[in-house]
Every structure is written in structure tokens, then in C-alpha cells.
Symmetry: C2
Subunit: 132 residues, 2 copies
């Protein structure tokens, strides 16, 4: 927890209790949780927690570029603490989202058809190994 505190401070973020807990949660739950999932889980430890604080905190983290948001599915934002580019796979059966370790071509930094690329996201969908 002290490591997390130091990390947040080093990124210019005031390490409040809620912020520490939310960032710790993202580090420990690498399944790209939604705000609702984060709230329902952390609520057990922090009964006074509100969703507003989770929204505020995630928006702050994203602005400071220590997390990323994924809009894989309509009407559902998901969050992850891994900011390195990597592909995502969403299972249409169980709904789980997996990180893929397989390397795909890195396009960031290149110029394609005249457009300068600064960010890339590869989303795959299908049926995961558990649901096959």
C-alpha cells in the first residue's frame, strides 16, 4: 500500500484513502471492471463510498494517464491499470474480457494515410476457451 501511495504522489495525485483503494483494486483485478463492479466490490470494505467518487477518481487517473478506459461494448466503460498497448478479447458468451499477450504490429508513432497515430486499440470478439 505504501508503494501505491508513493506511486500516486509521484504522478502528482493526492493519495486519499478512496484513491488508494480504487487504484489498488485496479491493480488486483485485471479483468477490466466497470464502475458498477468496482463499486459493488469496494462498497463492502468502504460502506460510505459513493459512485461519484469512483467516477471522479477514475477520470482523474485517466487524465493523469495512469489508467486507460475501454469502450469495448456499447453503454459500458471498462477500466484497466495496464497502459501499455495490448489487444483485448471479449467473450460473447460469458462477457469476460481478456488481455492478450500475443504481440500485434505496433502502429503508434507511425503515420498512416497521412494521419499521425498516437494510440491504438485492437478488440477481438468471439468465444473464449472456457465457453468453447
Amino acid at each position: 500500500m505504501d508503494g501505491i501511495r508513493r506511486y500516486l504522489v509521484s504522478e502528482g495525485i493526492n493519495p486519499s484513502y478512496q484513491r488508494l483503494k480504487i487504484f489498488e483494486y485496479l491493480l488486483q483485478h485485471k479483468v477490466h471492471p466497470t464502475v458498477d463492479t468496482i463499486y459493488n466490490d469496494l462498497y463492502k470494505q468502504i460502506p460510505t463510498l459513493s459512485k461519484t467518487t469512483i467516477y471522479n477518481t477514475l477520470n482523474l487517473f485517466e487524465q493523469k494517464e495512469i489508467i486507460k478506459s475501454l469502450s469495448i461494448e456499447k453503454n459500458e466503460l471498462r477500466y484497466e491499470s495496464d497502459t501499455e498497448p495490448h489487444a483485448h478479447f471479449k467473450c460473447n458468451e460469458c462477457g469476460d474480457v481478456y488481455d492478450l499477450s500475443k504481440e500485434f504490429p505496433l502502429i503508434i508513432g507511425k503515420t498512416i494515410e497521412g494521419h499521425r497515430v498516437t494510440d491504438q486499440q485492437l478488440y477481438l470478439q468471439g468465444v473464449c476457451k472456457n465457453c468453447s
Copy 2:
């Protein structure tokens, strides 16, 4: 317009006036419009048009697999009539979304890390050639 009518019929879709106009709009506006954009444009020609009809129609088209929806950005669904897999580039300056003709590896049909892939989306972001 008669070609569009025949196409809708061939896909099992009753070609009402609104459906014809909405599909024609998507064919003519390949900038991945939102429901709001479609509504604001078509409203001028069809003053009685409602957003509900646009939602109904787009959902029907998507279900019949003659269009695709893109959730590139949070809280904003975009639609396109091109159902072939291709990459998208979104300009963070002007907000426009471009189709890229450059070929990227086709992953659909493959199995990656045990997951069977049936759909793929590559989203790039950055600064487009007009905004550079």
C-alpha cells in the same frame, strides 16, 4: 433508390420510406454518423421522423447484418454501412472518423490463446492529415 429497395427486400427487410432513407443516408455519408447526426440531417427532409424510428431501424439493420455499429468513443455509438473488416482512425482534434484502406492482419476465424475469434476491430487515434 430502386436498387436500395431491392437490396433491403433481398435481405428480408420491408422497405418502408424511413428505412430506405436511413439506409440511403448511411450509403451516402461514410463518416460513421451518430444517431443524432442522422436525425438532424434527415429531419430536414422528413419532418415527422423520430429518433425512435432511427434507433429501431439501425437495430434492425444491425441484426440483419447489413450495417455495423462502432463504440469508438465513450457514450457515442456510430454506424456504418461497410461490413467488411477494416481499421478506423479517429482524429482527436476534429473528431472525424476515417476508414483506413490499409490492410491489417485478418484474425477472424483464427484461435488465439485458446479463444476463437469471430470479429475484430482496430481503432487508431491521433491527429488526422487535415489537422496536422
